[in-house]
Point group: C2
Chain length 344, copies 2
C-alpha cells in the first residue's frame, strides 16, 4: 500500500478519537517512596542546584547548563563545563524531566537522584575528582551542615552524596510547566489552539510521530521507571541528513550497554517546550524547529514533509510551551571569614 494513502486513510479513521490519545501535563510529578518531598528539602536542593562551588573551580553549577530561568537547557549545541571544555551532547531540559522513565540522552541513569550525581564528577562538566570531594566541599559551608540536619533529621550523618542527590532531585520535581495552550485544549478550552495547530496535532498523530512521542510528556507512555523509551535515530539511515547533521557518529545508548542492537538508539526526548528549546537533537546541530521536523519526518518515517505540513506541525509544537512558574532565587550559604574555592 502507498504510504501516503495509508496515512491519509489512517487519519480519516482515527481523527475522531485523536484528542483522546493526548494527555495534559500533570501538576505534580511522581515522587519515589524513598525520597518524599518537603519544602525544606526542595529549598536545599535549589541551593545546591545553583551552587557553583559544587564544581572543581567554582564556575559551574547544575543551572549553568540546565538553566531554569531559560528553557531548562543552555541554548547551546552542547554543554560547556569547567575550563571551557565542551561536552559531546546538548544539555537536556530539566523542566518536566521528572516525567521521564530514564535520565540522560542515553538513559544511563534511572532516577533524577542518580542523574544528579553524574555531572558533579564528569571531567568536562563540573569536574570534581570524586563525590567525596563534593561532600568535603559542602561540609565546609556551615549553612549546608545545618540545612542537611534539618532536612534529614533522623540520619546520624545526613551530609552524604545520596542526600545531596535527593535534595536536588526534589527541587527538580517541582520544575513543571503546566497550562500550555495544548493542555488547556485537552482540558476543554477548544479555543486555545488555532486551526493550524489542530491540523498539526492531528498530523503528528496520523503520520506516527506520537507512537514514540506519546503520553503526557510526549516522551513515551506506559514505561515503568528504568524502562526507557529508546528508539533508533535515524530509524531509517541513509538520508542526506545523516551526514549533514552528523547523526550517526555518536552511538547513543550503545555507549552504555555495548549491545549492538542499541547503536544509535536514544531516549525519546520530550516535546514539552520544544519550540523554545533550540538547537535540536543530541548534538545540537539543527538550529531551527522546522528543520528538526523535516529531519524527523525523513529519518524516522521516511517522509518528505511538505512546507505546509512542517508549518502545521511547528504550529502544534508551539502550543506545547507551558507556563514557567515564578521562582525565588536561593541564597547560597556563606563561608564567613574564609574561601573554599580553589583555582586549579
Amino acid at each position: 500500500m502507498n504510504k501516503r494513502f495509508f496515512f491519509s486513510t489512517l487519519l480519516l479513521l482515527t481523527s475522531a478519537s485523536v484528542f483522546a490519545e493526548f494527555k495534559a501535563l500533570p501538576d505534580k510529578a511522581p515522587v519515589p517512596k524513598d525520597n518524599p518531598m518537603t519544602p525544606e528539602k526542595i529549598e536545599l536542593g535549589k541551593m545546591l542546584y545553583f551552587d557553583p562551588r559544587l564544581s572543581m573551580d567554582g564556575t559551574i553549577s547544575c543551572n549553568s547548563c540546565h538553566n531554569v530561568m531559560f528553557h531548562g537547557g543552555d541554548g547551546r549545541p552542547v554543554g560547556a563545563g569547567i575550563h571551557g571544555q565542551r561536552g559531546g551532547r546538548g544539555s537536556p531540559t530539566v523542566w518536566n524531566s521528572a516525567f521521564y522513565s530514564v535520565q540522560f540522552w542515553d538513559g544511563r541513569a534511572v532516577t533524577l537522584e542518580d542523574q544528579a550525581k553524574g555531572p558533579l564528577v564528569n571531567g568536562v562538566e563540573m569536574g570534581m575528582s570524586s563525590h567525596d570531594l563534593v561532600i568535603e566541599r559542602v561540609r565546609q559551608i556551615p549553612g549546608y551542615i545545618s540545612a542537611f540536619k534539618k532536612v534529614f533529621p533522623k540520619e546520624k550523618n545526613p551530609l552524604t552524596i545520596d542526600n545531596v542527590a535527593k535534595a536536588i532531585a526534589s527541587y527538580e520535581r517541582t520544575l513543571i510547566t503546566p497550562n500550555s495552550p495544548f493542555d488547556k485544549f485537552i482540558k476543554g478550552n477548544k479555543k486555545s489552539l488555532n486551526p493550524q495547530q489542530i491540523r498539526g496535532m492531528k498530523l503528528v498523530d496520523s503520520i506516527g510521530c506520537t507512537s514514540c512521542h506519546a503520553g503526557e510528556n510526549f516522551s513515551g507512555e506506559g514505561f515503568a521507571l528504568g524502562e526507557g523509551n529508546f528508539q533508533p535515530f535515524p530509524q531509517i539511515p541513509g538520508s542526506k541528513f545523516d551526514k549533514m547533521y552528523d547523526l550517526t557518529s555518536d552511538l547513543g545508548r550503545y555507549e552504555v550497554t555495548k549491545n549492538p542492537e542499541d547503536k544509535n538508539k536514544w531516549r525519546v526526548p520530550t516535546w514539552r517546550n520544544v519550540a523554545i528549546s533550540a538547537p535540536y537533537f543530541h548534538n545540537g546541530k539543527v538550529k531551527t524547529l522546522d528543520e528538526a521536523v523535516r529531519v524527523m519526518g525523513k529519518t524516522q518515517l521516511d517522509m518528505d514533509l511538505n512546507d505546509a505540513q512542517v508549518a502545521d506541525i511547528v504550529a502544534f509544537l508551539n502550543s506545547l510551551t507551558g507556563e514557567f512558574p515564578k521562582q525565588t532565587m536561593p541564597l547560597l550559604p556563606h563561608t564567613p571569614n574564609f574561601s573554599i574555592t580553589p583555582d586549579p
Copy 2:
C-alpha cells in the same frame, strides 16, 4: 612621636564620638537624573544581567562572576570568562556597588552604566567582539524587543547598548543589603553588636582604617561621582606580604592613567559583607579575613596587629553582613523555533 602612643592617645580623644562617624547603609542608592528607575526597567535589567546569550558563546552572564545569589562576587581568586579564561583580578561584589563613586578595582568606569558595558566586550570575560554584536544578538530575541520599547517608550530606536547598560545599572541599584547588625547598632539598637564587635569598631577607627574605609559604604566619604577614593596598596611597601601575596605586580590605577603617581593605587573597596566575600584583595590571593586584616595593618598602617586586635576587627567586620533581599528569578525571553547561540 611613637606611632602606638599617638594612636592610643587618639583613641582616648575620639572614642566618645566614634559612633557619630559611622553611618548606616541607606535603603536606596543614588539615581542619576538621566536614568530614572522604573519597575519595568529594573526587571529588564535583571533579565539582561542573567542572560548568558550576552556572551560570545552563551556561557557567561553578568551573574556568572557577580553572583547575586551568593555575596555578589564568585568566591574565586579571579574572574572566569568564556573558554575557561581567567581574568587578572577578583570579581568585585555587585551588592551595594551603587554607593561607589567610581567602578572597577581601578576606577576605570565612573557609573554603573559605564561599568556594565565593559565585561560584555572584554575578551577574557563575556568576549563579544563588539557592542554592535551584543545589540544584534539581543535584537533577535522578540521578548527583548518589546521590553525595550516598553521601558524606553519615547525613543525611536530603544535597543541600544546605552539602554542595555541603563537597564542593567537600574537593576544593580536595587542590590542593597541593609540592616546589618552594625546598621541596627547605628540606628540605636545597642544590643546588636557584642562587646568584641564594639571593641573592633573603635579599633578600626582609632588606628586609622576608617580614614579610607569611610562613610556608609566604608569605601570613602564625600567623593563626588567620578572622583574615586584611590589609595596606594601597599601604602608602605617592603613588608613580607608584598611578595607573599604578590601585592605589587599589578599596578592598578596606573594601568588606566599611566600617571606614575597612580602606581599600585586602587579604589578603596567596601567593607559591606566583607566577612562573607573571601578571598581578598584585587588578586584574591588572601583566603581568610584575619590574614587580610593582618596584611592591611602592616601594609597600610605599618602595624603588627596582635591576635586579639585581629579578632576584634574580624568580629566587627562580621557585623557588616547585611540582609540580602529575596528576589524572584527572571524568565529569560525565548527565541521560538530557532537558536541564536553560536559555538565558536
